[in-house]
Every structure is written in structure tokens, then in C-alpha cells.
């Protein structure tokens, strides 16, 4: 029975990444800036590679806090560069954003190739498509081991960083709930009531970078975008209150992760294929599927309601 040591950690990582990203994605989708999430999730790569390289050089192995620091520095540098190019240099903002994040990602890929020998934990495939399938928890042989503290010694470190990301996201929303509502729905009011917009932009951008970075290692750069955007955009189709929007995006993120997970496992379970399909890709696809279903259902029920 390989569910507990092999499949459970991967499924748990997918659920944690989905709920953290699903919640944070509201900061992007409600401000109509979903592509900024795309940009940030690509821009963390060079920071991550440099930090992992230095960490490997100085400390012998990947040292995660340093990776987080590197990724956040890269994201902040990228966004600052972006703002400077559009405000001071007068470049077209959308094209500048597209070019900057592509260039950052390109730099990350080239650095990965150059430092390839010293980075055993990072390679181009993982950066692109994630590494859910490689998460293994050796000491977890049944659910009873979850209660045994000794078993946590071999817990994959990705689970720690993802839990931390979810915790930080939950605390951020709990502490800033009213402020966020004002900032997201009525920026003018929030400015007159003494909030600094720059401050909200900064903290939310940092948070997106932090969560994207934690999820990045599990599901890869492009698929982080799916986790960030699909739940919040789907919830926005029907939710009419901020609290419901947040709750719905959290639930939809979990549904999406579970659905994608089973889509990836089904061909093996049914005996059609010799192995499972890539779970991270299936989860991103499931995001599109869930969105389409909700959109179709909403359109159908509305057209039925307006029929004479």
C-alpha cells in the first residue's frame, strides 16, 4: 500500500498550495491584475536559483529560508523595475511587464543550466512543471504515523513551506479583512480614510511572491497561475459579498486540486495507462474545467430565469 508514503504527501501538497494560492489570488483577480500573478510567479525563478546556489555552496544543502528570501528579492526587484520602466521611461506598461517577466524567467533558466552541477534539487523541468510526484514521506506508513512525532523527521520540506504559506495567507486576510475590502472595492475611499495605497500594494505583492514561491516548487511556474487565478475568477462569477468570495475561492481551490488529482490518477486506476499522468498539469486543467462548468451553469440558469 503506497498511498501514505507516496500519494498522500503529494495530495496534501496540492491541497495546501491550492488553498493558499486560491485565497491570495483574490488580491489579483479583484483588482483585475491577474497577469501580475503570472509575472510574479515567473520572476521568482532567478532569485530562487541564485539563493539555492549560494545556499548549496555555503551550507551544503538547500537552505529554505534563504530560498524564500532570494525569491522575494527577485519579485520585488522585478516589480520595481517594471514600475520604473513604465513611469520613468514611458514604456507601454503591458508590453514592459510581459518582457520583464519573460526576461527574468530566461535568466533563471540560463542560471539553472550554468549552475546545474551544484543544484541537485532544482532543474528546468521542476521549475516548469513542479515536482509533486517526487514528494515522498518515508516514515508515513499509515494514518497512525501522523500522530507519531518521530515520523515528522522525514516529512518533505515542501509541506512545511506550503503550510507556512497557507498560515501566513490566512493571518493576512484575518488581520486586514476590513482594510482589504476597502482597498479592493473602493480605492478612493481607502485613500481618503488614511490608508496608504502604496503600502497595501507592497504587502500584497510581497505576499503573492511568498505564496507563489512556496507553491512554485510543488507545481511549477505556469501552474501556480492556475491556482492563483482559477478559484478567485470562478468565485467572482457568482459571489456577491467579500466574505463569500473568499470562502468560495477557498472551497473551489480544494475542489480543483482534488478533481485534478483524480483526473491524473484515473487512467492508471482504470488500467488504461501504465503510470499516472502529471498531477500538476491535471490540476491546472481542472481549474479551467471548474470555471467552464460554473460559467455554463450560471448562464443557463440566468437564461431560464429571464425567459417569459
Amino acid at each position: 500500500m503506497s498511498f501514505w508514503p507516496i500519494q498522500f504527501p503529494a495530495l496534501l501538497a496540492a491541497l495546501l498550495a491550492a488553498s493558499a494560492c486560491g485565497l491570495i489570488g483574490n488580491l489579483l483577480v479583484l483588482r483585475r491584475e491577474a497577469m501580475l500573478g503570472d509575472a510574479i510567479s515567473h520572476m521568482v525563478l532567478p532569485g530562487l536559483v541564485i539563493a539555492a546556489w549560494f545556499g548549496g555552496l555555503l551550507l551544503g544543502d538547500m537552505w529554505r529560508p534563504l530560498n524564500f528570501f532570494g525569491a522575494c528579492v527577485a519579485a520585488v526587484a522585478g516589480v520595481a523595475l517594471l514600475r520604473w520602466l513604465e513611469r520613468r521611461q514611458g514604456l507601454e506598461p503591458r508590453a514592459a511587464m510581459g518582457f520583464i517577466f519573460t526576461a527574468f524567467f530566461a535568466l533563471g533558466v540560463v542560471l539553472l543550466e550554468v549552475t546545474g552541477q551544484t543544484n541537485q534539487h532544482l532543474d528546468v523541468e521542476h521549475a516548469l512543471f513542479g515536482s509533486l510526484e517526487t514528494l515522498i514521506w518515508i516514515d508515513l506508513m499509515s494514518w497512525r504515523d501522523l500522530l507519531r512525532p518521530a515520523a515528522y523527521a522525514t516529512m518533505p520540506s515542501a509541506l512545511v513551506s506550503l503550510s507556512l504559506a497557507l498560515l501566513v495567507a490566512l493571518v493576512y486576510f484575518a488581520v486586514n479583512y476590513r482594510r482589504l475590502m476597502a482597498w479592493l472595492f473602493d480605492p478612493d475611499y481607502s485613500q481618503t480614510s488614511g490608508l496608504t495605497l502604496r503600502g497595501m500594494e507592497m504587502t500584497s505583492g510581497l505576499l503573492v511572491a511568498f505564496v507563489a514561491m512556496a507553491a512554485f516548487e510543488a507545481v511549477g511556474a505556469v501552474l501556480v497561475v492556475a491556482l492563483l487565478v482559477a478559484p478567485a475568477a470562478t468565485a467572482h462569477l457568482f459571489a456577491r459579498r467579500f466574505s463569500r468570495q473568499l470562502l468560495a475561492s477557498l472551497v473551489l481551490a480544494l475542489v480543483m486540486a482534488l478533481l485534478g488529482w483524480y483526473l491524473a490518477q484515473a487512467p492508471l486506476a482504470l488500467g488504461w495507462l501504465s503510470d499516472t499522468l502529471p498531477a500538476s498539469g491535471a490540476i491546472a486543467f481542472a481549474g479551467g474545467l471548474v470555471f467552464t462548468l460554473v460559467l455554463a451553469f450560471g448562464t443557463l440558469s440566468r437564461s431560464r430565469a429571464t425567459r417569459p
Binding site: L28, V29, R32, E33, A34, M35, L36, D38, H42, R87, R88, Q89, G90, L91, E92, R94, A95, A96, M97, G98, F99, T102, A103, F105, A106, L107, V109, V110, E113, V124, E125, L128, F129, V222, L223, A226, L228, V229, A230, A233, H236, L237, G260, L263, A264, L273, S274, L277, P278, S280, G281, A282, I283, A284, F285, A286, G287, G288, L289, F291
Partner: protein, 288 residues
Amino acid sequence: MTLIDVFLLTALAVFGAACGLLGVFLTLRGRTLVVDAMSHAALPGIALVGLAAGFGLITRSGFALVLGALVFAALAAVLVLVLRRHARISEDSAMALILSSFFGLGVVLFGWLQLLDASQTLGITSFALGQVATMSGGEAWSLLIVALLVLGVVIAAYRGLSLLVFDADYAAATGWPLLKLDLLLMALATVLLAVGLRSVGAIMLLGLVAGPALTGLAGARRMPQALGLAAAAGALSCLLGGGLSLVGTHVPTGPAIILVAAALLTLVLVWRALRPRTLSVTAKAARI
């Protein structure tokens, strides 16, 4: 460097020039990011052609792969246009959704392809980041021909496209077929992307469309100058980047090209900062 390498690089350089030229129009029309959605969405098209060939339904050819990419890129563009008309979906959300869910489907289908035949030459990484070394002579020919075709059409439709991006209202009032011009712009982008996936890669194509265009627009004050500069920057990026990737180690082609394009943009920005009198139109507007 063999003769075929020289031919590959020539085709790639012409392709870069076409991307730079078209990129100027796409940038001025605010359509650069759609390119990203389209190029990511083309991946499942390629995988489906590979799967159909794996099941013996069709024979796999460079043409079939380009056709698969073309259909899915066009589908993505249409879906973005349809979705953003919905009151509760912003254009950004529509693009990010299409981009990521189609890419996810691509990852799954390429995984399936890998399971059917582990010795597959069709790897998703080379389509995501580009690998010019794996291109055949036929693919280089199609790259060259399509790029020349796009260059020709853009030059022929220069007046209409310029009016579209600078003063759409005036163009409409004087009877230019605005919708057709818009469609032409997107169709040219689709065709260009579909042939460029193999060499530049789905994730990097956006950079080749936006980077040289920004270089051209930042470095010139008049449209013909901007177009020339953008085409030159695109060609030079592809020549140097493609050359680096062919000669050098296993650096994928796309990232090499984009880093050269970034260096060129930096050069132009530095040059402009050192000569404050040659401010571009956009920079003047930003100062005011």
C-alpha cells in the same frame, strides 16, 4: 558550424525580424499579453498531433504540428475575446485562465505521449523553451517562408495597420475596415507563433514579440524608424541567441534569445538617457 546551422540561423533571424515588426503593432494596440496566452495554449495542439500520430491516425510531420499549434492558438485568442465580454471577467483573468488551463492540458497530454512511447522525440521542454538544434531542414524552411510572408503582409498593410494602432477612430471614420485590420493583426501573430514554438518556445515567444518592439519604440521618434529598429533588434537577438544555443552548451534557445533582447533594450535605454534631446514620443508623454 555547418551549412545547415547557417541556414537555421538565417531563418531564425528573419523570424526575429518579423516578430519585432509585428510586435510594434501589437504593443501599440495593447495586445502583447494575448500572445502569451496564445503561445501557451498551442502546446496541447502539438501534443494532440503527436498522440494522433502515436495511434496511427496520421503521420507526424512538421506541417501537422504547426497546424495543431495554429488551431489551438487561434482557439485561445477567440476564447479570450469571448470571455472578456462577460461583465464579471476581466481581460487579465480571461488571459491567465486560458493560458494556465491550456498549458495544464498540454502538460497532461505530453505526459500521456511519454507513457505511450518513452523514446519520444517530442518533449514538452523543448517546445516550452525552444531548441533550435532539434529542428529539421523542412522546419527551418517553413520558419523562413512564414516569416517572409508575415514581413511582406505587414509592409503591404503598413498604412492600415498604423492607422489602426494610432488613431482607430479616424481610421473608422474614413472608411478603413477596422475589424478586418484587427483580425489581420491577430491572424499574423497566430501564424508566426505557431511556426516559432519549436525554435523559441511557448514561454519565451512573448519576450521576442515585446522586447524588440519596446527597443524600437524607445529608441526612435518616428514609426518607420521604430519598425526598422525593432526588426533589427529582433533579428540580432535571434542571431546571437540562436548562435549561442547552437554552439554553446545545452542552453535552450528561447532564454538565450530573450537575454540578448534584454541587453539590446538596456543599451537603447542607456543611450537615450545619455542623449536627453532624443526623447521618444512616449517618454515625452510620460514626462508631461
